[in-house]
Each structure stands twice: as structure tokens, then as C-alpha cells.
């Protein structure tokens, strides 16, 4: 079932109210139910299950290279929990501006930093890669936000950054903001197939 929040009391209330909710809900396919919950939950604090699993976050699992001697073991993990959640992506959008990500990456088109809405991912496109990029920083100008941005908020930013190139669920992606319109909304752009390529300017990622 839907769990609205990590607050135990709140959950208790939800349970209290659930008889009639359940009555109405019973007509609905379970699939639909799961989809909506994922998208609509408002996760205020990190203690839920909405951060990617510890395993996928561990530095050991982060690779920056497509080259793996022997047989490649790379596979996309189930790190998409946040990317299907509209609230997380929307929070990420706000933080992207609050923490001046837009100062360097503009609204995805790039400026001081590389574009984020295209298909080029110098340091990997997986959520864990982007998380690592934000937390560790990157040598050519990307600052390290370790200890500065709380973990949950980094994940929210990750979800938003990935949405810029269409790597999030369409119905969870943000629409326009209440500001100047400078680019088509994410949902109106095609999803880019991530490529782990450095830009042609070899010395200047």
C-alpha cells in the first residue's frame, strides 16, 4: 500500500482512515497504485526507502570507464526510485538553483560547466556516478560538495540532473517554472541516450 511518510503517527492515521480509502481503492489495479505512489510521495526526510540502496552508492560500485578487463559486469542498477518521484525531482530543481548549479551549467545547456541536457556524460550517467561527481568534485572545475549538501538533497539534485536529458519518468518530470522560459521543458524534449564520451575537446572536459 501507499506509505505517505516516514512519520509513524501519520502512517497510523493513514491506517485509521484506510477503511474507506481501501474501499474506493479496491477497484483499482495494483499496478496503477504502485505507479502513483512512487510518483506522488512527499518524502521530507531521508529515513524512507527513497534513497538508492547503500550498495549502489558505495564507491566500489562506481565506475568511470566502459572498459573492464575480462567480461563487462556493468549493468544499470535499480537506482531509479527518486527519478520516478515528482517531489524529489522538483526539490532537486529548486536546489539546483539554490546551490548555484545553474550558475555553471545554466538550465542544462552548460556555461562554465558542461551541458547536462545532452547525451555526453564524461563521468558517467548513472545516478551513483552523478552523486559521486557532486560529492567528490571533478578535477576540471567541478567543486566538491562533500559535507556541504546533505545526502538526500544530493540525490534529489541527481534526479533532477538526470531529468534534464530525459532520464526520468515522463509524468514525474517538472513542467515549466515560474520564471523566464529559456528552453523547452524536459517532457517536450526527446530522451537522450547517455554516452560515456568526453567532449571532442580532449583537454577540456
Amino acid at each position: 500500500m501507499c506509505s505517505r511518510s516516514s512519520e509513524p503517527r501519520e502512517r497510523a492515521t493513514a491506517a485509521l482512515l484506510s477503511p474507506y480509502r481501501a474501499g474506493v481503492a479496491s477497484v483499482v489495479v495494483v499496478m496503477l497504485l504502485l505507479c502513483a505512489c512512487e510518483r506522488e510521495e512527499r518524502q521530507f526526510s531521508a529515513q524512507g526507502g527513497s534513497s538508492p540502496s547503500a550498495a549502489s552508492m558505495a564507491p566500489a560500485s562506481i565506475t568511470l570507464s566502459d572498459l573492464q578487463p575480462g567480461v563487462s559486469t556493468q549493468a544499470r542498477r535499480g537506482e531509479r526510485e527518486l527519478e520516478v518521484n515528482a517531489f524529489s525531482i522538483s526539490e532537486g530543481q529548486r536546489l539546483y538553483e539554490w546551490f548555484n548549479c545553474n550558475g555553471c551549467h545554466a538550465n542544462g545547456g552548460g556555461a562554465i560547466g558542461p551541458a547536462l541536457m545532452d547525451d555526453v556524460w564524461i563521468y558517467g550517467s548513472a545516478p551513483a556516478n552523478i552523486y559521486a561527481t557532486i560529492v567528490q568534485g571533478r578535477p576540471n572545475g567541478m567543486p566538491s560538495f562533500r559535507g556541504r549538501i546533505p545526502e538526500q538533497q544530493v540525490w534529489q539534485i541527481v534526479a533532477y540532473v538526470r531529468s534534464l536529458s530525459g532520464q526520468a519518468r515522463k509524468d514525474a518530470m517538472p513542467s515549466r517554472t515560474d520564471s523566464m522560459q529559456v528552453k523547452p521543458r524536459q517532457v517536450a524534449l526527446p530522451r537522450e541516450e547517455p554516452k560515456s564520451s568526453a567532449p571532442p575537446s580532449g583537454n577540456q572536459p
Binding site: F44, S45, G147, P150
Partner: protein, 315 residues
């Protein structure tokens, strides 16, 4: 307890007087109408099963007069009330001489307050507590950075909305020193409930002294622990959102903390400003104010107490 009927300034008094006038007129009207209704019902209960057509016709003539008189009285009463509203409204709209100008900006879920000054260097920024001098009219200029909020201090002034993309303004004037509470009146999201504010009215000299103190940059930490707390502040997530004048922390998306210790409450009036409340707020704000913009910080206990020591030193 604060109430629109316990006004603390001339403008709020005018509104309260008008309110009492409306209450009184309404009470009289209610009593009269209900009295007629009860009279009519009591009369009808005792009557024969059905009146004859002649009796009805005669009664209808009387009724015509009665309803006509009633309607006329209604019109007169409403005209009187309208006139009193227009008069009070016109008085309230008169621009005051030499008001203190204060800019109030709404944020989810706190108030940014900036005192205007011809010398830009004397423009004071603070949050969630509006300090004003007693007796002097204060012009509040409102806008919002996100959604619509509404500024309301019942005992001192009516509401005025803070609307993104627009500026609105309202005058507040308080004639007695004291602390008065208010809160956001337009639904603005998860923590609309805890978007509170306090108004501190104090004599002009005290106000000026307060303003001078608040203008000063933050005090350098004096104790070892506070110094360490400052380090924690500068090296943690605090610095991404908050500012402390005189340090490298100059972020503006959250309340200015330069003189945080001088405030009575934290988290937009949600908690008293005590060290323990501060600690629990820093540690897990989402438990206290779910949906607010402040994230939880996982500070080790000694870092946390150092940070609290630093914050409480920011007098």
C-alpha cells in the same frame, strides 16, 4: 492572547471599532428578525387550521407594509454600514507622514524583513521578527519569492497578501510597547501552519539602539567551543543557505543568522529560541516542521553542541 478586538494601535483600533459597530448592528438585526419569526410561528401555532381568503387578503395587506418597511430598513442599515466602512477605509488609506519603510518578502516558510534606509549601508536584513518603534507609522512593502503568502498581525493590522510578481503595501502603527504574534494567512504549502511571526514594538530610542546593534556584523566567537562551532558552521551545509554578516557565510535563501541569538523564536516562530530547541531543530527539522526547506544534518553530538554554542553566541 492576541485578538483583532484587542487592538494595540490607532489603525487596528479603528478597525476594531468598526467591527464592534457591525457586531452591534448585526446583533440588533438578528434579535429583531428572530423575534418576528418566533412571534409569527407562535401566532401560527395557535391559529385555526386554515385562514379564509378574506382574512388572508387582509393579512397580506399588512404584510406588504411590513415587508416593505423591513426592506427599507435593510437598505438603510446596509447604507449606514457601507458608509461607515467607506469612512474608515478612507481614513486608513491616508498616506502617513514620514513612515518607516520596511520590505517584507515571503518565502516558503519564513519572512524576510529588510529595513529601508537612504544610506544603503544601513539597510538591515533580518527574519521572522518585525521590530518597530512605538507611535511611528511603518509602511510595509510586500512581495513574495515563491507562492502567495499573507501578512497578518491581528492585534496590530489587517492582512495584506504577498504576491509574486507584484508589490503590495500596508501601514502598521502600534501605540504601546509589547510583543504581538501573527502568522501567514494565505495557504502556502506544507508549513503554512508554522509560518509565524512576531511583532516587537518598543520605544523609539530602544528601537534605534536595537537597529544599531543588529546592523553590526556578527560577534566573533569568544569561547573555544563557540569558535569550533563557527568552524562547524562554515564547513557544513549551513553555509549554503544562511548568512552570518562578517563571515564568509552570505547565502540568502534562508534566514540571516547574524543575530540569531537575539531572537525569541526560531523556525519562523515554531520553537522557542533555547539551546535545546536549537539543537533539535538543527538535527531534525523535518520532525518539527515536516516539509520545511531545512534539511536534517547528521552532525556528531560534539559538533552539534559546538554549533549551538556558536549560534547562541550570535547576540
Amino acid at each position: 492572547m492576541h485578538s483583532a478586538l484587542q487592538p494595540v494601535g490607532p489603525r487596528a483600533e479603528l478597525i476594531a471599532d468598526l467591527m464592534l459597530l457591525f457586531f452591534a448592528v448585526s446583533a440588533v438585526v438578528y434579535v429583531i428578525v428572530i423575534a418576528f419569526l418566533v412571534w409569527a410561528i407562535m401566532r401560527a401555532r395557535e391559529r385555526a387550521v386554515q385562514l379564509g381568503p378574506a382574512a388572508t387578503a387582509q393579512a397580506d395587506r399588512k404584510s406588504k407594509v411590513a415587508v416593505g418597511v423591513g426592506a427599507a430598513l435593510t437598505v438603510l442599515t446596509l447604507a449606514g454600514l457601507a458608509a461607515s466602512d467607506f469612512i474608515v477605509g478612507a481614513i486608513l488609506r491616508q498616506p502617513p507622514a514620514d513612515p518607516l519603510r520596511v520590505l517584507v518578502t515571503g518565502h516558503q516558510f519564513w519572512w524576510e524583513i529588510e529595513y529601508d534606509d537612504p544610506v544603503p549601508g544601513n539597510r538591515l536584513r533580518t527574519a521572522n521578527e518585525l521590530h518597530i518603534p512605538v507611535g511611528r507609522p511603518v509602511q510595509l512593502i510586500f512581495t513574495s519569492r515563491d507562492v502567495i503568502h499573507s501578512f497578518w498581525i491581528p492585534s496590530a493590522m489587517g492582512k495584506m497578501d504577498l504576491i509574486p510578481g507584484r508589490t503590495t503595501n500596508e501601514i502598521i502603527q502600534v501605540s504601546q510597547p509589547g510583543t504581538f504574534t501573527g502568522q501567514c494567512a494565505e495557504f502556502c504549502g506544507f508549513q503554512h501552519s508554522k509560518m509565524r511571526l512576531t511583532l516587537h514594538a518598543r520605544p523609539a530610542e530602544e528601537f534605534d539602539a536595537w537597529r544599531q546593534r543588529q546592523l553590526a556584523p556578527a560577534r566573533e566567537p569568544q569561547t573555544q567551543e563557540a569558535r569550533r562551532g563557527q568552524q562547524v558552521f562554515m564547513q557544513s551545509s549551513c553555509i549554503l543557505c544562511h548568512s552570518v554578516q562578517g563571515t564568509a557565510a552570505a547565502a540568502t535563501v534562508a534566514p540571516d543568522l547574524t543575530h540569531i541569538a537575539s531572537r525569541r523564536t526560531i523556525a519562523a516562530g515554531s520553537l522557542p529560541n533555547t539551546p535545546s530547541a536549537l539543537a533539535s531543530w538543527v538535527l531534525d527539522p523535518q520532525r518539527i516542521k515536516p516539509g520545511s526547506r531545512m534539511p536534517a544534518s547528521r552532525l556528531p553530538p560534539d559538533d552539534l553542541s559546538a554549533l549551538v554554542a556558536y549560534l547562541t553566541s550570535l547576540q
